[in-house]
């Protein structure tokens, strides 16, 4: 499909370690289009994670700008921006309570006050990963690591993000679970007719081949995207 819209444009993002003042990411620029399935590779400590956290504005860039949907992201838009450009961490974090309670709590946040929890939407996702409805009533504390990560993903996907920033979401999971995560994300991309995009940090060569259509490299804080 031609003429895919630019979703996000980052220019000259720099991040300096606030404690020891080391430059972690040096002037990274990139563009993310609709339908992009990007794999971000690089050795550990090369700044991949910092870069993704910066794209999510979880770590404030010391320099540079992010243009999202054609507009510069301003301070007041940040909570909204973060729910659209969603960062998924390696270690899933759930709150106390059942799976359903974990899926419902984002709607208590101010930014999502106009939205309502949609059980049908969740049911469609659960069908993809072969989980029965009773999964929703399970206690979060009883879930396996993989199941926890799936719940974290569902929690984000139900909010209709535009870009997913996946920071090694499956590196602590076994093969089967990793495949489920991939399946779920693939389904989400298809559901939205390839209008969404993701950046996926992975160390697994097989996985990189499965999920990436384009590869970015991070080397010593320098991002190479292949774009001019």
């Amino acid at each position: 499909m031609a003429n895919k819209k630019i979703l996000l444009k980052a220019e000259n993002l720099c991040r300096i370690d606030p404690v020891n003042k080391v430059m972690l990411v040096k002037s990274a620029s990139c563009m993310i289009h609709q339908g992009n399935r990007i794999v971000l590779s690089g050795s550990s400590g090369s700044g991949k994670s910092v870069f993704c956290r910066m794209l999510a504005l979880l770590d404030q860039p010391d320099q540079g700008s992010i243009i999202f949907n054609g507009q510069l992201v301003r301070q007041a838009d940040i909570p909204h921006y973060r729910s659209a450009v969603a960062y998924i961490r390696q270690r899933p974090v759930l709150l106390r309570g059942t799976v359903q309670e974990n899926l419902m709590f984002p709607f208590a946040l101010h930014i999502h006050r106009e939205r309502r929890f949609n059980p049908e939407k969740i049911a469609r996702f659960l069908a993809v990963i072969d989980k029965p409805d009773t999964f929703l009533q399970k206690n979060a504390a009883d879930l396996s690591g993989g199941e926890r990560q799936l719940v974290c993903l569902l929690r984000v996907l139900q909010l209709d993000p535009v870009i997913l920033l996946l920071d090694e979401p499956t590196s602590a999971l076994d093969m089967d679970m990793a495949m489920q995560v991939e399946l779920l994300i693939n389904k989400w991309m298809q559901q939205h007719d390839e209008t969404r995009a993701y950046v996926w940090i992975s160390h697994d060569e097989q996985q990189k081949k499965r999920v990436g259509q384009q590869v970015w490299h991070m080397n010593g804080g320098v991002l190479i995207t292949g774009d001019a």
Binding site: P18, L58, P79, S83, R89, L109
Partner: protein, 264 residues
């Protein structure tokens, strides 16, 4: 007329023999506490005698600036102590602790002494110094517990705070739960002590007044209002401290600056 027994230095010497009991226990159980015990006992006596002379002097001088100076020093020491007890620290914590203790205790003391007790003149050391001392002691505990709890919560729950932020929570929404826990931790000791007061513990001030020959009913009334001063001051101090932490660790762009928390 004083209806209490005056204590002479001989009486003190007699009582001090009791410290030998502690020494004996330490020796028998090989606790090696003899030295600390001796130092602690001597410090206790010297510090109290010293403050006794200072108080006597302040009572005699009876000037507002002397009273202000004394409670200023007391406030400063309490603020420093509220900061020093914490294992996890951040830049600016000392000043935050000091301001929390200072604002809350002086506010409550002002209300208590001027509005409730209507002390005349307002600086009368006989009232100001002991009541300020009690308020400061409690505020120090409230602020210190609140700070300790909030820094621990934020360290332990860093991932949860960030998870909330990345789901679109505002910085305040992400901070709310740790903040509630910290304020609760800061308020619990006063609530607990109000629960059992009179049943398990007879508070020092009331006991002192009774020993000095005061009518127990009046002594109890004093204790009741002081308990309200203490609970209000420690709660306000704790809330202030938790708000200051929020301002230090969460930026306007809704970032959690976790790196500012450093373990000592």
């Amino acid at each position: 007329m004083p209806s209490y027994i005056e204590i002479s230095y001989l009486d003190i010497a007699l009582a001090s023999l009791l410290v030998l009991a502690n020494g004996l226990i330490s020796l028998l159980l090989k606790l090696k506490l003899e030295k600390s015990l001796l130092v602690a006992a001597v410090r206790m006596v010297v510090q109290l005698l010293l403050i006794g002379y200072i108080l006597k002097w302040v009572f005699n001088v009876d000037q507002w600036y002397v009273v202000l100076l004394i409670i200023g020093i007391m406030t400063f020491i309490a603020g420093m102590a509220a900061h020093n007890r914490n294992r996890i620290q951040y830049g600016g914590m000392r000043i935050d602790a000091l301001v929390s203790v200072w604002v809350s205790s002086w506010l409550i003391a002002l209300l208590g002494l001027v509005v409730v007790l209507q002390v005349q003149p307002w600086y009368k050391p006989q009232y100001v110094i002991p009541i300020m001392g009690m308020i400061l002691g409690n505020t120090l505990t409230g602020v210190s517990l609140g700070l300790d709890r909030i820094t621990h919560e934020l360290t332990q729950k860093r991932e949860q705070v960030e998870m909330l932020l990345s789901l679109g929570a505002s910085r305040w929404e992400a901070y709310k739960e740790p903040a509630q826990n910290a304020v609760m931790a800061g308020m619990m000791p006063t609530i607990n002590s109000m629960m059992v007061i009179g049943l398990v513990s007879l508070p020092g001030m009331m006991t002192g007044q009774i020993l000095a020959g005061q009518d127990p009913e009046q002594a109890i009334r004093y204790q009741i209002i002081v308990m309200f001063f203490l609970s209000a001051a420690s709660a306000i101090g704790c809330v202030l401290a938790v708000l200051f932490v929020f301002r230090r660790l969460f930026s306007k762009s809704h970032n959690f600056m976790y790196w500012k928390l450093q373990e000592k």
